[in-house]
Every structure is written in structure tokens, then in C-alpha cells.
């Protein structure tokens, strides 16, 4: 059985299906990107996984056992999208408190908190109130609070919002190192370029329904559309090519992105270029970006929904 396994989860609010029959298996060491438009049901899903709310139907298995929040929450770290810390409590004291709630002893919590504060360059703020910190700094404190107890499952909702590039890198490196140590990381965001950079798996959800899941690389393969980036010497003259083997998607100063017809292979077109006397400097496949996939999939679903609703 998978490390974290969701079976047909459902959560309905009144008429609204926040999460509808959602199933997914996730393994240790992976970094999952949970994607979806606003109001897709991401937060509801994460709240069920963290034991904050209970599914109306379905089951969760965690560490090979049915999920039992009181026991299992100690193995999880959750950083909600809406950040929250006690404003009038000192950084160190707060970290120790939150660590203790996750089952650490006071001494252990203090030691770890101090190490993390050093690592995150926050030592000068140890006894300052959180309310006096900048947004980025309190973000780092929040991250420390999430991972202080070395959870096996780390759930981060928009972890980089409000961070400058340097601090974002700091957090990103920590995410990678937790992943290497064998943690499962679930990462919820709207920022597709971050997902492409960090997540090895993605799952796309909209209107409470799972639309896509799998390895990021494979999904992009699955959605590829015979697009190639071409750089030649001399610069390609599109007029040289009559016929309809390809169309030009975009052009820049020194290259074109072309779209091949479905029955044309890249080799055929390459040979053609060579025959025309072009020197091939670059010929690379262009995979669709996640945001394209995201938009396309969501729009498709929307179309289906609206056709169903109007019918």
C-alpha cells in the first residue's frame, strides 16, 4: 500500500461538492504538486488529509494504517495558505510551543528550534514578537514550525508567497533535502513555474474532481503536440516551404517554434531543412508548459460541465 493513500474521498457542503470521489496514492520521497484553480477543493482536500476536517465518505490510509488523526498528526507538518502565528508571542517561545503540540519534549523542541533559527538566519529575532517581523521572516518562522518535528509528510500551501528570491531558494533547498531524506511532500500552488521546477508528480483538481495525475515529465509528454524549436543557419525562410507539413507557432530573432502536422515525423522535416541547404544549429522538442496543460484541461472540463448543465 502507498505511504499516503486516499480512497474515494467526498466532502459536500450544502449543495456544493468541495471534493468529489477523489482517490490518489502517494509514495515517500516524492514531491507532489497539487494544482487547481481557486475554489477547486484543494484546501478542503488538504484539511481532510491533515485531519482538520473529516470526509463525508471515503478513507485515508497513512503509513499503512487507516488514518487516525490523534496518532498520525505528529507525523505530519502542515503549512496552511493563510499563515498563522501568535503575533504577541516571541519567535522562540512560539516554535517551542508548536513543537510541543506535535509531541516533542520541551527540551527537544528548544534545541531543534534553535538549530533551525540559526539555519534560517533568525537568531537575532529569537525573543522578538512575531508581530514585529517582516512578512518574509514570519514566513520562515512558519516554515520552521511546520518541519520542526521532522514530519514524514509535509504539506505546504503556497510556501513561497511573500518571499524574496534568496529566501525562496533557502526554503526550496530545504524542501529538496526533506524529499531526499524520504519525506512525502505535497505542495499546493498556483505558480506553475515553481511546480515545473520542484514537483516530480502533479495532480490537477477542479470542482472537487481529479482531472490529471502522474509524473510531471510523463504528463508533459502526454500533452505534447509535435512542437519543435528550430535554429538554423542561415535563418529559416518560411517561404521556402510550400505545403502544409508544419505551421509556425512563434518566432524570435534567431529561431522558430513550429508545429508539425500529425502524420509528419521530426526526421522528415529535418531532412527537408537539410536538403534546402540549411545548417541545423538546434532542433529541440518543445513540451507544453504545465500552465498550458492546466488551462487546457480545466477549460475542457468547464466545457463538459457547461454542456451538461445547459442540456
Amino acid at each position: 500500500m502507498a505511504f499516503l493513500s486516499l480512497h474515494h474521498l467526498k466532502k459536500y457542503y450544502d449543495q456544493h461538492r468541495a471534493v468529489d470521489d477523489f482517490s490518489l496514492d502517494m509514495e515517500k520521497g516524492n514531491i507532489w504538486g497539487l494544482l487547481g484553480p481557486n475554489g477547486a477543493g484543494k484546501t478542503t482536500l488538504l484539511r481532510m488529509v491533515t485531519g482538520i476536517i473529516f470526509p463525508d465518505a471515503g478513507e485515508i490510509f497513512f503509513r499503512d494504517k487507516p488514518f487516525y488523526p490523534e496518532r498520525d498528526q505528529a507525523y505530519m507538518g502542515y503549512m496552511p495558505e493563510e499563515r498563522g502565528l501568535y503575533k504577541k508571542m516571541a519567535v522562540g517561545e512560539q516554535l517551542i510551543y508548536l513543537g510541543q503540540l506535535k509531541g516533542l519534549s520541551a527540551r527537544e523542541a528548544k534545541n531543534r528550534a534553535w538549530q533551525w533559527v540559526q539555519k534560517m538566519e533568525l537568531t537575532a529575532w529569537w525573543s522578538k514578537h512575531v508581530g514585529d517581523l517582516s512578512k518574509g521572516m514570519s514566513q520562515k518562522v512558519q516554515f520552521i514550525a511546520t518541519v520542526l518535528h521532522e514530519p514524514e509528510l509535509i504539506i505546504l500551501d503556497e510556501p513561497f508567497s511573500g518571499l524574496d528570491p534568496i529566501n525562496a531558494n533557502l526554503i526550496r533547498d530545504e524542501i529538496f533535502s526533506f524529499s531526499k531524506k524520504g519525506c512525502l511532500i505535497i505542495f499546493s500552488t498556483h505558480r506553475m513555474e515553481q511546480v515545473e521546477e520542484i514537483c516530480d508528480h502533479i495532480v490537477l483538481i477542479n470542482r472537487g474532481v481529479k482531472l490529471l495525475e502522474g509524473e510531471t515529465f510523463k504528463i508533459r509528454q502526454q500533452f505534447k503536440q509535435q512542437q519543435f524549436s528550430v535554429k538554423t543557419y542561415p535563418l529559416l525562410q518560411p517561404d521556402d516551404f510550400s505545403g502544409n507539413e508544419f505551421t509556425i507557432i512563434s518566432s524570435s530573432a534567431d529561431r522558430y517554434v513550429i508545429q508539425l502536422q500529425e502524420n509528419i515525423s521530426p526526421n522528415t522535416i529535418l531532412q527537408k531543412f537539410i536538403q534546402q541547404g540549411y545548417q541545423i544549429l538546434e532542433f529541440t522538442e518543445v513540451l507544453p508548459s504545465l500552465s498550458e496543460i492546466f488551462i487546457r484541461t480545466v477549460q475542457q472540463q468547464q466545457a463538459i460541465f457547461s454542456s451538461v448543465e445547459t442540456a
Binding site: 476536517i53 496552511p80 498563522g84 501568535y86 504577541k88 503540540l101
Partner: protein
């Protein structure tokens, strides 16, 4: 359980270390004792002292009345004084005032009697000085009219009403001490419920607005968070009370030795029955009456009702705090259904403090939503044990019930952002099955 304890500890420590807590906790007993000290001072030192009065009686109508008494020393001047020195006489001759009576005093229309002084004549002294002159004039008039003075006196004696004073005074005193204690207890519970209830509500609101609630409930159950907060604040309240009681006792201990001294001082200054020494006696009566009340029972029941009432209402306040989002006016609107029964119970308690055995008193002191306020007001009069038992059992049952309801509201409310919630929705959350 461990988690609830951690939350309780945090609530407790952050509140107890606040400056406002420390100031209020230390200041209140001093104010209280200061108030009592002031009362005693008024009783002892504030009474009018004996006045030394120079008398220049040119009419010589009043020669017989200048006898020293508890209020006045009279110093009758034998020689006349120039008119312009009258006003300054008191200051230059170290007396409190000069009483001037002109030689041509018309008995039928007495005017021209003057009192010269730098100091204000206390009202009490004014009345008795005027009374003396009046009496004397009356006597003269009656004599002039050939009325037999003995007859007048005998008439006066005949109409003297004999009042069994000591007894009535004592029972009156006992009643008023009981009323006072009942009122104080009722008011304290009222104050505690509102003040600490609102603290709980604010705490829940703060956690929701700061979004810390979601972080916490990913570690502990919402119920534990709510319970930890409620108990933490209860512990703060108890701490405050204990400090108050200890401080008051210590201050009382420091003040008490001064009491007999003051008493002695009063006795030295004044001979006989005067208003002031009566007041001091009164204080002593009050303290004996206090000690006659079932004090231990009152204190124990007070703490039980304080905790019971607090738990009953605090969980409801927590539920309200979890529902509102930043907007203070929403909070006010929603707390109304909770503060209203507290207020009504308080008003009933005030009535009950005077009339402890009416059917209304008995009913409301057993009904759990009013019993914490009303029962404490009945305590000084003694309450049948079965009524106490029923009342306490019902109170415990009621607070388990409200806590259970509130927990369900709290669980949903604390995670709900940016949505205005109606009372109807809240009721639905409270009574749904899951």
C-alpha cells in the same frame, strides 16, 4: 489530555505575564482596602470635634446655658468688645469661633445673633447651637407667659416613646449585612461571567483572525483547543482571586492593629454617646455579624458556582468568538443572546438578595442558566441542602451540554473565513449529527 494541558499553560502564562493583569491584580486590593480605611477614617476622624467658642452675650438672657458638653467648650467673655474686632477675635484668641448676642435682643423676633469664625461651622454643631438658643428662648417665653414649667416637662415625658432599640438595631444590621454580602456575591459572579467570558471570546477571535487556529488544529482537536483556552482563562481568574484574597488579608492584618487605637482615640476625645463612637461600634457589630454567617459554605459554593457558571457560559462565548470574523459589531450582535440571560439573572439576583425565599428565587436559583448568579445571592440566608444539590447537579449537566454544543460550532466556525454567519446557520451547526 497532554495537548489540552499545553494549551492551558500557554493561555495561562501569556495572560498572567501581561502588564494589565499584574496592574489590576495588585491594584484592586489596595483600592478595596483604601476604601475601607477611608470609611473607618470617616467614622473616627471625620466626626466633628469639640469646638471652643467664645461667647459675648450682651443681652444676658442666656447666662445659664453655657455649660460645656461633648460638642462645645464655652468661654464666656465678661467685658465687651469693640464692634470692629468681633470678626477677627476667633483667629487672635485661639478659639474656633465667637458667638455674639446683641443687648437688644427681641424675644419675639430674635435677630442679630451672629457667629464669627474663620472656619466653617459643621452642620451638626450649627444645629445643636441653634437648638440651645431656641430652647432657652422658648423657656423664657413660657416663663413670661406664666406657664408652669414642671407641667410642660411632664407633658413632654408622657409622650416619650419607648423603643426597644438594641434588638431592632441588631436584626436590622444582620439583614443589611446579608443583603450586602448577597449583592457583592451576585455582582462578582456577574462581573466574572461577562469579563472572563469576553476574554474567552476575544481569544478565540484572535486565533481565528491570525489564522493560527488552522495550524493548531492540525496538531490538536478543536475541542482540546477550546477547552484548553477556557480552562487557562479560568486558571487566570482563580489566580487573580487568590492573590486578591491573600493581599486583602495581609493588608487587613496590617490595618487591624490600628483599629483599637482609633477607637481609644475616639473614646478619649469624647465622653458619652456620640455619633462617632456609635459608628465605630457599628463597625464592630458588622464584623461580628459577618462572622455569624456561614462563611465557609459561602466561599465554597461561590467557587463552585463561579466555575460552573463560567464553564457554562465561556464555551458559548468561545463559540461566538469562533464564528465572527474581525468585525467587532458582529460579535456584539451575536453575544447578545448570551449576555441577556446573564443580565436578567443579575437583576433577579438583586431582588433575591432582599427576598431570598420567593418562588422566583427558588426557581431561578435551581435553573442552571441563572443559578450561578441567583444562588450565590441566597447563600447568606442559608439554603436547604437539597436545593443546593439539585442546582449544582443541573448546572454541571448544563455546562456539559453547552460545551458539547459549542464545540461543534467552534469546530466549524474557526476554519470559516470571510463569510458572515447568521444565527440560523450557527444553530444548524450546533444541532447537526456529525
Amino acid at each position: 489530555m497532554h495537548n489540552t494541558w499545553l494549551i492551558l499553560k500557554r493561555e495561562y502564562w501569556t495572560r498572567v505575564r501581561k502588564k494589565s493583569f499584574i496592574i489590576v491584580t495588585l491594584l484592586v486590593p489596595f483600592l478595596f482596602m483604601g476604601f475601607i480605611a477611608l470609611e473607618i477614617y470617616m467614622a473616627v476622624g471625620g466626626a466633628p470635634k469639640r469646638l471652643q467658642i467664645a461667647v459675648l452675650d450682651k443681652s444676658h438672657l442666656f447666662d445659664t446655658i453655657w455649660k460645656d458638653d461633648a460638642q462645645f467648650y464655652f468661654q464666656v467673655l465678661q467685658h465687651s468688645l469693640p464692634d470692629d474686632s468681633l470678626a477677627g477675635y476667633a483667629a487672635t484668641h485661639h478659639v474656633d469661633g465667637l458667638l455674639f448676642i446683641p443687648d437688644t435682643l427681641n424675644i419675639l423676633h430674635p435677630s442679630g445673633v451672629r457667629y464669627y469664625s474663620q472656619k466653617k461651622l459643621p452642620l451638626e454643631s450649627y444645629i445643636s447651637l441653634k437648638g440651645k438658643l431656641q430652647d432657652a428662648l422658648q423657656h423664657i417665653r413660657l416663663t413670661q407667659l406664666h406657664v408652669n414649667m414642671a407641667m410642660v416637662d411632664s407633658v413632654k415625658n408622657a409622650i416619650q416613646l419607648n423603643i426597644e432599640q438594641p434588638l431592632t438595631r441588631a436584626s436590622e444590621l444582620q439583614a443589611s449585612v446579608s443583603v450586602a454580602i448577597a449583592m457583592i456575591c451576585g455582582f462578582l459572579i456577574y462581573f466574572i461571567l461577562i469579563f472572563f467570558g469576553v476574554s474567552v471570546m476575544r481569544g478565540a477571535m484572535e486565533e481565528k483572525v491570525n489564522r493560527i487556529a488552522e495550524v493548531i488544529v492540525s496538531s490538536v482537536k478543536p475541542f482540546q483547543l477550546m477547552l484548553g483556552k477556557i480552562m487557562g482563562i479560568a486558571a487566570v481568574g482563580l489566580t487573580q482571586f487568590i492573590i486578591w484574597i491573600v493581599l486583602v488579608l495581609v493588608l487587613w492584618g496590617a490595618l487591624h492593629p490600628l483599629l483599637p487605637e482609633m477607637h481609644a482615640q475616639v473614646q478619649n476625645m469624647q465622653s458619652g454617646q456620640t455619633a462617632s463612637s456609635e459608628q465605630v461600634q457599628m463597625l464592630q457589630h458588622v464584623s461580628t455579624e459577618l462572622l455569624r454567617l456561614p462563611l465557609l459554605e459561602i466561599v465554597i459554593c461561590f467557587i463552585l458556582y463561579f466555575l460552573g457558571g463560567y464553564f457554562l457560559y465561556a464555551s458559548l462565548f468561545a463559540a461566538i468568538g469562533s464564528v465572527v470574523d474581525q468585525d467587532a459589531s458582529d460579535a456584539q450582535q451575536l453575544t447578545f443572546p448570551i449576555t441577556l440571560p446573564i443580565l436578567i439573572s443579575f437583576l433577579i439576583a438583586i431582588r433575591v438578595a432582599r427576598d431570598p425565599d420567593s418562588p422566583l428565587a427558588i426557581f431561578t436559583s435551581i435553573f442552571p442558566f441563572s443559578s450561578p448568579l441567583v444562588m450565590v445571592a441566597r447563600l447568606p440566608y442559608g439554603v436547604p441542602w437539597w436545593q443546593l444539590a439539585v442546582s449544582l447537579i443541573l448546572l454541571a449537566a448544563a455546562f456539559l451540554f453547552t460545551t458539547w454544543l459549542a464545540a461543534k460550532i467552534y469546530r466549524t466556525g474557526i476554519l470559516m473565513y470571510g463569510k458572515k454567519v447568521t444565527l440560523k446557520e450557527i444553530t444548524r451547526w450546533a444541532f447537526r449529527r456529525k
